[in-house]
């Protein structure tokens, strides 16, 4: 059985949230808002954890994006109708927008070289935000941002939310190549790249923080819900940071 709405996601374009949509042939997506907000992000993280905990028959994989939780299931074991019904029951069991953040969260302090030829777009990004480069560094480094989702590339965090000055758009043209550890800004968010990547985000800083370590017991350094502060350091320290554990970053576990 397939719920009528599931046959091609024919829900209204301006949907009521939470909203369930189909993804490809074997996935469902539960979205809590159309745009990023703190309650929707909390809901997405908590609801994904709840799907994992519910031990649904046929469940293969889950993830959380900024405002949604995704699940993929084995269509040889179950079907869209059964999964849809279980998701609706789970959705109505509580108000997910007020759910707490995951436990065991960490606050990372990550040494960052701002500007210089290591991060050549600091001045440009500051100008777009209407700030001097000094004000920009102060604004970013004082912000305590949270990992809203991990995605795009392995271990890559989207961090927010920055002060309103940073509601700057992405560039229409891609920056040739931002190196691994590059800190980039747009739309009141920061991203930190695990590998060299062309991007539309402007690079304002360079860290030595390793995000993806496939051969370690914990391959991914950050988890959704973790917090971070990007502490300014002189460019001369970068070489030493590269040799230090965790790129010289430190953490404390949040209560």
């Amino acid at each position: 059985m397939i719920t009528p709405d599931a046959t091609g996601g024919k829900g209204p374009y301006r949907a009521v949230f939470p909203q369930i949509r189909t993804v490809g042939t074997d996935g469902l997506l539960v979205s809590f808002a159309e745009d990023l907000s703190e309650p929707a992000n909390h809901a997405a993280l908590a609801f994904r954890a709840a799907i994992e905990a519910a031990d649904l028959p046929g469940l293969l994989e889950t993830s959380a994006s900024l405002v949604s939780a995704y699940l993929r299931f084995d269509i040889g074991v179950t079907d869209h109708g059964a999964m849809w019904t279980m998701l609706e029951a789970l959705l109505s069991s509580q108000d997910w927008t007020v759910a707490p953040l995951p436990g065991g969260r960490k606050l990372w302090r990550i040494p960052t070289v701002y500007g210089t030829d290591l991060a050549p777009q600091l001045e440009e990004a500051a100008a777009v935000a209407g700030l001097t480069p000094e004000e920009a560094i102060a604004s970013i480094s004082n912000a305590r941002v949270r990992v809203q989702t991990i995605g795009f590339a392995p271990g890559m965090p989207y961090l927010g939310e920055l002060p309103p000055d940073w509601a700057i758009p992405r560039q229409t043209e891609l920056t040739g190549q931002v190196p691994a550890g590059g800190l980039c800004v747009a739309i009141r968010q920061l991203v930190l790249f695990p590998v060299d990547t062309p991007t539309g985000w402007r690079q304002i800083g360079q860290t030595a923080f390793p995000l993806f370590r496939p051969d370690e017991a914990e391959p991914f350094s950050l988890r959704p819900g973790d917090e971070a502060q990007f502490v300014p350091v002189p460019a001369a320290e970068l070489a030493a940071m590269r040799n230090a554990p965790n790129g010289a970053a430190t953490f404390e576990v949040l209560p």
């Binding site: 397939i2 599931a6 046959t7 091609g8 996601g9 024919k10 829900g11 374009y13 949509r21 189909t22 993804v23 490809g24 042939t25 074997d26 996935g27 997506l29 979205s31 159309e34 745009d35 990023l36 994904r48 293969l60 994989e61 889950t62 993830s63 959380a64 994006s65 900024l66 405002v67 949604s68 995704y70 993929r72 269509i75 040889g76 079907d79 869209h80 989702t149 991990i150 995605g151 795009f152 590339a153 392995p154 271990g155 890559m156 989207y158 229409t172 695990p194 590998v195 993806f212 496939p214 051969d215 391959p219 991914f220 959704p224």
Partner: protein, 342 residues
């Protein structure tokens, strides 16, 4: 010593691939694995072994290989010219490769990704519970000359000389698509135009995705570039800023902001991955219910591929390249072609 495959020469896109590593999507690592998963199933059937064993994927061009102990091999996917010590061997077949012989695999004659399967599979060390090279994630890299790859224990040593009819998927054609989470960002007129259009595979593409050039103008949508980044799955047809579709493949990013007009059925994704530059492709929407039926049938069909095996009979009438076969060892009277074959 464990039997091994030695790489003497390799094209620029030769990697170890299996069914990939599910379970890391939440950490931004896509499943990856073979670009053409059907080819893994065909290779597994030809060698009567598990389709989870790792094989060698060859993008566009193969290489030259040798084994340290007699080994069974099978060749699937994009048809490439293959020889053992200079004698042509059949594609979509299983063969014996003796220690020290040279296996030479050339450029793809049709399709994009060819596969070399080994009896017992490639037994390279697992990383994050799989052996697939994930180029985009920096998990291992392309094979280079001098590489030695250990192989696993072969449960049926000596059992070769089989063939099967490969599912034709190397020249483009029509692929089925389901509506997905963002299909409604496109108005019905654009969807209709998309279904009527004939696309050409662009030269740009890799294991992350393949670009398709529209016959007419690009595709517009209401959401534009303001749509929030959302989960991506292989098969998703992303419409980039200039209105050109990009079909995401095995090594795709896990989230993305470009709206997606639909998602290609996993059963038809090998046809997308295998389309060569210039190949023509059409997209046809099917209801989700039909897509699920198709997928269930295809999963069952792949499991049953072994039943479709036939002995590799060398019928001279169908051998256009008869002279490339070593029919008789040693010297002959020189009138082989005048005499009737036994």
């Amino acid at each position: 010593m464990t039997p091994a495959l030695i790489v003497h020469r390799a094209g620029p896109g030769v990697t170890v691939q299996d069914l990939g590593r599910p379970g890391y999507l939440a950490f931004g690592l896509s499943r990856g694995g073979a670009a053409d998963r059907l080819a893994l199933a065909e290779g597994a059937a030809l060698l009567s072994q598990d389709d989870g064993l790792a094989a060698i994927e060859m993008a566009g061009i193969g290489g030259e290989f040798e084994v340290t102990a007699d080994m069974r091999i099978a060749l699937t996917g994009a048809v490439m010219r293959a020889t053992i010590d200079g004698s042509r061997i059949a594609w979509n077949g299983s063969h014996l490769l003796a220690a020290g012989q040279r296996l030479s695999i050339g450029a793809a004659e049709s399709g994009s990704y060819g596969y070399l399967h080994l009896g017992g599979g490639v037994a390279a060390a697992e990383r994050l519970a799989a052996r697939s090279t994930h180029l985009a994630a920096g998990l291992d890299s392309v094979l280079s000359p001098g590489t030695r790859l250990a192989t696993g224990p072969d449960r049926h040593p000596g059992a070769a000389g089989m063939t099967l009819d490969a599912d034709p998927r190397f020249e483009g054609g029509t692929v089925r698509v389901v509506p997905s989470l963002q299909t409604e960002f496109f108005d019905p007129g654009e969807i209709a135009r998309f279904e009527a259009d004939e696309f050409r595979r662009d030269t740009r593409g890799n294991r992350m995705g393949a670009r398709f050039l529209p016959g007419g103008e690009g595709y517009r949508n209401e959401a534009g570039l303001s749509v929030i980044s959302e989960v991506i799955v292989p098969g998703d047809i992303q419409i980039t800023g200039d209105g050109t579709p990009f079909v995401l493949l095995s090594e795709c990013q896990t989230t993305g902001g470009y709206p997606r007009i639909g998602s290609v059925l996993p059963a038809d994704l090998p046809r997308v991955a295998q389309a060569q530059a210039g190949a023509r492709l059409k997209f046809r929407f099917v209801p989700l219910e039909e897509a699920v039926k198709v997928e269930r049938l295809e999963q069952a069909r792949r499991k049953g591929l072994r039943r479709a095996l036939r002995p590799l009979i060398r019928d001279p009438r169908s051998m256009a390249d008869l002279l490339s076969y070593q029919l008789i060892s040693g010297a002959t009277a020189g009138d082989d072609l005048e005499r009737p074959l036994p």
